[in-house]
Symmetry: C3
Subunit: 155 residues, 3 copies
């Protein structure tokens, strides 16, 4: 698949999941591998994505971009854990959570930012995934999108 | 198990997960099978279930019925993917999400509409499942219930 | 690992997930085992943990304690199902849900009450887990925290 070459061809750069609030050390694992499964913690967009709620501080388009950036921060964690992004042989389950302003319910349109990236990189066979895309009351420290996932990995 | 004969005896009909909003083509998989596991996307009730929040536009009883209809739309997706609903050999994990009006927290009573259907169809051995039943700020395009699941399938 | 001896040394007691509302009989499984995986239903703190929303009726510190108590009620269910808590050989996935008052978004700090307990009991190898820690609109019957999980078990 040569995912990293594709990322480079697309002009995309991996970035870490974003700084934690001052003094916070996450005690959980970004990625937990067991057998041929990797369980991926909820990731936020990191980088310089604005914080706030989609439908208030962020537009739908900014939410879509935040979901795409969340994909890049998740890929960064996968690379750190697996060494090579080609070891992901199948995306299985994606839980897409949007920090919504009251009344904003186009949550699938937001999470498409993540899905489109994964399908573009991994193709229909490996990249296809089941998905929920839902609206949350609050997300950690005001991030606009959080996504967790489960993937199959080559052992 | 002969699930489809049971559905017929119960006078129930499968129906598709409901039309997408105009112009929307879902890019994710309704059901993603890998080995002996099927990962099932968040499904809504489809059919002519009213949209809105349980505790406001929908009563508890309508929410229960929406969760039952969600079971039928999920079974429709499983039949399309697996060919035969008897290939589901064990329900494992259910995440039941209710679109709640502020203050409505009888979310387990709503998701029982799904659980009761699955137990009636699959029995206690195959139908038993772990479950969460929780209240969401918003669900896609105003559906009252969304449920995702993971099941064991015969390979 | 001798988890139960550790619990005793820490002065902790398992307690059941708490009484259901009058007349309610849960129809789902607290823990569903299949192969070497156990799927654990969303659990609440049980015991005499106050109900309500973190950031309103409960402080952050009370939320942290509620998440810790949720760990104890989950361990109680695991012991009932598995017989011996040492049969849990790896924590994999944790979905931590906080019943939040509007504007309360320090949800990771709340769910740390659960994570800290699991890491203390199971150590870094078996206890490490992927995690999401997010804010819900409502949780069943007003419990402040609900956590579901998936673990690896010795068969």
């Amino acid at each position: 698949m040569h995912i990293e070459a594709k990322l480079e061809a697309m002009g995309l750069q991996l970035h870490t999941p974003g700084p934690n609030p001052a003094g916070v050390q996450p005690r959980f694992s970004r990625v937990r591998v067991r057998g041929n499964r990797a369980y991926i913690s909820g990731h936020g967009p990191g980088g310089d994505t604005p914080r706030g709620k989609v439908g208030a501080e962020l537009t739908l388009e900014q939410g879509y971009e935040a979901a795409r950036q969340t994909g890049l921060s998740m890929l960064s964690s996968l690379k750190a854990e697996l060494g090579d992004l080609d070891r992901v042989t199948g995306w299985l389950r994606v839980l897409g959570m949007v920090n919504v302003a009251p009344g904003f319910n186009a949550t699938p349109d937001v999470i498409n930012g993540f899905t489109d990236l994964i399908l573009e990189l991994y193709g229909e066979d490996a990249g296809a995934h089941s998905r929920s895309a839902v609206g949350m009351a609050e997300l950690p420290f005001g991030i606009p999108v959080e996504i967790e996932a489960e993937v199959e990995v080559a052992t």
